[in-house]
Amino acid sequence: MPRYFLAKLSLLLWLTGVIIAGIAMPMVPSPERWFELPIIPALEQKARIIFFHVPMSWTTLVAFIASTVYGIMFLKTKKLDYDLRSVSAAGLGTVFCVLATVTGSIWAKFNWGSFWNWDPRETSIFVLLLIYGAYFALRSAIEVDEKRATLAAVYSIIAGVTAPFFIFVMPRIMTGLHPGAKGDEGGSTPVAQLHMPANMRVVFFASIIGFTLLYFWLFSIRVRLARIESSSEQS
């Protein structure tokens, strides 16, 4: 029996609720009752993907920041435990990044016509994928534990300095397809000026919270497993 079993079970139930709400809430032209969502012209049912695509890209951002912060903590304290946490966060970040890219490009195909457009935000998620790939390539090229941890932490800090430029600045100053680009006042994450009706916003934020908590749970499992592995290697 895992610890905090009830909390984890309720998290799973929370996300089940999000899935059901996201997929099954009916879409009608003029919503009147609390569980009816408006139809967005040209998107219709496919708009539901927003409940899953945006929270996943949000989670990969959280994972990225966590990985960089743990890298900084390692450089300050030299404790290898921080390095373990940094790798686990990076691994999870990669998974969520791939999922966000795939869901995003499927949505792009429906919405804008082609799977990939080099829109600034699409480019930024691709760069994030490249950074993760480079991070793991660097780690696999060094054998000494401490050296590997130091260099990986340094690289994640450098990437952490240039990536926000991509993720936050460029999509707003360049014209692009995502909402919130230059010339389009629709608003986008993380600025929460979402022009969504209230009940849609509830499901959306519930999804973000659920995915973030899921990330923390997956992270804790990975870190605990990594600690067991490293302690059994030493003994």
Binding site: A134, T150, V154, I158, M170
Partner: protein, 261 residues
């Protein structure tokens, strides 16, 4: 009783000349601080810069290989373009592709050559990590700048259809872009010098870091080909300058961790 005569010391002219240069108005402690900064940071880094450039110029293997790489890349592009005329956007992008890959083959030498020659520990003993970093950074600046000027001149001469209408934007982009490339590639070169698969790892690590800069620089080159005014490209120049400043600042702090064993 014989008294041993202490050897008379020759006056230390170097220190005194600095004192003569600085105005009398500057008070004592700050002059000493400046002196110590000059002696422990700028002088060693200048010497490291001189050492690197003289060793590269003496046996020109690396420089020759780099030049041949540029010629090869350019020839491949010219050959595949043939007599077709390509849009100016594509040509601008191609120029920076050549520049990027030439930098990737040339800029890691400063650190990798130290590892290969086994001179890393000597370097660690004789100077501060910051001095090593500034020296290598200066060397990479100089190398990138000269390399990019050569590439740009060749490109202008040989590729037909590449007509620059606002030369000021073009050359300013080249200079700022070279600084930006050098600043990001030096710290990455320091990182991969300690790893195993150095050659292939270098572009893999550098590309995500350089991508924002590459996008900006390609856009500025396109602006220069369209004949835009200098003031229209100021946004791009701001991005390039801030990128360089941020990266140099962060690398200067992080270099200590990378350099120490």
């Amino acid at each position: 009783m014989r008294v041993l005569k202490t050897p008379s010391r020759a006056p230390r002219i170097r220190v005194h000349s600095w004192r003569m240069v600085l105005p009398r108005l500057v008070s004592g402690p700050s002059v000493q601080y400046l002196e110590s900064a000059v002696k422990s940071l700028f002088v060693p880094s200048y010497q490291i810069f001189l050492k690197d450039s003289s060793s590269e110029l003496r046996t020109r293997y690396a420089l020759n290989a780099l030049f041949m790489f540029v010629v090869t890349a350019l020839s491949i592009i010219l050959f595949s373009l043939g007599s077709e005329s390509v849009s100016s956007d594509v040509l601008a992008g191609m120029l920076w592709v050549i520049i990027f890959f030439s930098s990737m083959s040339g800029l890691s030498r400063t650190f990798v050559a130290e590892e290969e020659r086994g001179t890393v520990q000597t370097l660690q003993l004789i100077s501060r990590p910051s001095a090593v970093y500034v020296g290598k950074l200066t060397f990479n600046f100089a190398l990138t700048l000269s390399l990019n000027v050569v590439i740009a001149l060749l490109y202008l001469l040989l590729v037909n259809g590449f007509a620059v209408q606002t030369p000021s934007i073009f050359w300013a982009t080249l200079v700022l872009g070279s600084c930006a490339i050098a600043s990001s590639s030096t710290i990455i070169a320091a990182i991969i010098a300690k790893a195993h698969t150095r050659g292939t790892l270098y572009p893999v690590l550098s590309f995500p870091i350089m991508l924002p800069m590459l996008i900006t620089v390609i856009k500025a080159t396109q602006l220069s080909m369209e004949g835009a005014f200098f003031s229209e490209a100021l946004e791009e120049f701001q991005i390039l300058i801030s990128y360089t400043v941020v990266l140099v600042a962060v690398s200067a702090v992080l270099f200590d961790f990378v350099w120490r064993d």
